[in-house]
Amino acid sequence: MKNILQFENVRHIYHTPRGEVVAAEGLTFSVDEGEFVAIIGPSGCGKTTLLSLAAGLLKPSAGSIVREGSCGYMLQKDELFPWRTIEKNIFLPLEIKKQNTPAARERALALAEKYGLGGFLKSYPAQLSGGMRQRAALIRTLATEPDVLLLDEPFSALDYQTRLNVCEDVAGIIRSEGKTALLITHDISEAISLADRILVLTARPARVSHAHTLGFGDLPPLKRREQSSFSGWFETLWRELNA
């Protein structure tokens, strides 16, 4: 398996006029191609910092971060631009990366079509439900065919029922597209229901304290929640988070 993302002994310091905060220290982990890795940690442990580092938006203070290929970032809210149609929203990364060719647009549209957005392409985000909007946000992220998806609690802004559905959706799309994904969340059950591997972070400065391979295979999220091992994993991770 090829390594797509590699954090090696990463240290990151935030500087403010009042002082400095060490957000991460000795952070080492890697994500393999095609793998779905979830990172959970206590709140305020610098999860978003970690994704910004992975996306290359921040440079680490020390250590190295190697990423093979491009990345797509998905945030808590869909962040669709309300003045653009769904179609135009999906084309946004193509425009930015100057890949706005007919072929690329067609590929993005085919993706939208495949995952049930075909009827909404000319609609505005305000006309879509929260779940559909998040799905559109995922298609936008996939439009440039990124090698790794970075997911920053992408379901936390949704209500519980929508959340389970969208989680199911997104997991299905990511698996069937064979994408590599790095999910950051504070929701333990979400991590278990989505990931192949879970990394537990310590409180600030963030460091990987435990790593688990789940072994659910390609089982979709809702099915995973029915498994007897689900609650076992939950307990283990809960204990480790609160240690």
């Binding site: 996306a55 990345c71 797509g72």
Partner: protein
């Protein structure tokens, strides 16, 4: 939402709403008629000296005579031109400066105290300077109008630009967007509502600027008529010019509101 059939309750609700709207309009116009009527009455009966208070009929006569000697539209034209020119320059220049300040954090921090001081300064204090610099023509008045409007335009637009959703900026950056792309695809479209509200505020500012300018220095225009009327004690003229000013300012405001409706409709679909 257009439904062909309503429930009885909904029909009642709609009727009540319509009734209420009619009532509001009747009262609005009623108050105007009552005020004008009372004004006319107390001056006609001699309770109040029409020489000091003027009266609706005398205002109408004054406007008619201004129209007859051809000076009505001349004065309106002068003031309107000054107001619109000042408005346009203040808006465009203010927008551009706000963009510059958004673009460079350092420039913004350097210029901030200057903007704050200029904003706090009563522009009328610059009157004598403006006369010396620009003479007594329309240029001086346009300059005053720009001065009154531009700082408001800058501060309003800057706060909109700076207030752009940080998460959307993060999203754009994660796509590899440069500053120019962020400006073009995110900051400008998302500050659209702020542009409209800035235009609305600046309509008012432009009238303040142009009339204030005409008070200080002018040979024509509605502000000139007001000052001149006051000096020679022709209160009819003062009231007439004020009345015309009310109509023009309201008209310009409604134009902006119409523009807003058209644009917002266009944006939301």
């Amino acid at each position: 939402m257009k439904h062909q059939s309503f429930s009885h309750e909904h029909a009642l609700y709609l009727r009540a709403r319509k009734k209420n709207l009619a009532l509001v309009w009747i009262l609005r116009l009623g108050i105007l008629a009552l005020l004008l009527g009372a004004w006319e009455l107390v001056t006609a009966l001699g309770w109040i000296d029409p020489f000091i208070m003027s009266s609706p009929s005398r205002i109408a006569k004054t406007i008619a005579s201004l129209y007859a000697d051809g000076s009505l539209f001349y004065h309106i034209g002068v003031t309107l031109w000054e107001t619109l020119a000042g408005f346009a320059i203040a808006v465009v220049l203010g927008f551009a400066v706000a963009l510059l300040l958004w673009w460079s954090d350092t420039v913004r921090r350097v210029l901030e105290p200057y903007i704050v001081v200029i904003n706090a300064l009563p522009k009328i204090a610059l009157g004598p300077l403006i006369i010396v610099w620009f003479g007594t023509g329309s240029e001086a008045i346009v300059f005053m109008t720009v001065l009154v409007g531009i700082i408001v335009a800058i501060m309003h637009m800057l706060s909109a630009f700076v207030g752009t959703d940080q998460n959307k900026i993060l999203l754009m950056r994660s796509m590899g967007a440069n500053k120019w792309q962020i400006l073009q695809k995110l900051v400008l479209p998302s500050s659209y509502p702020a542009v409209i509200s800035m235009l609305k505020i600046n309509v008012g500012m432009a009238w303040i600027g142009s009339i204030m300018g005409e008070y200080i220095v002018s040979r024509a225009g509605l502000g000139y008529l007001i000052v001149y009327g006051g000096q020679v004690f022709k209160l009819d003229l003062v009231m007439s010019a004020t009345f015309i000013l009310c109509v023009l300012a309201a008209g310009m405001y409604f134009l902006v509101v119409l523009l807003e409706k058209a644009l917002v409709k266009n944006a939301e679909r």
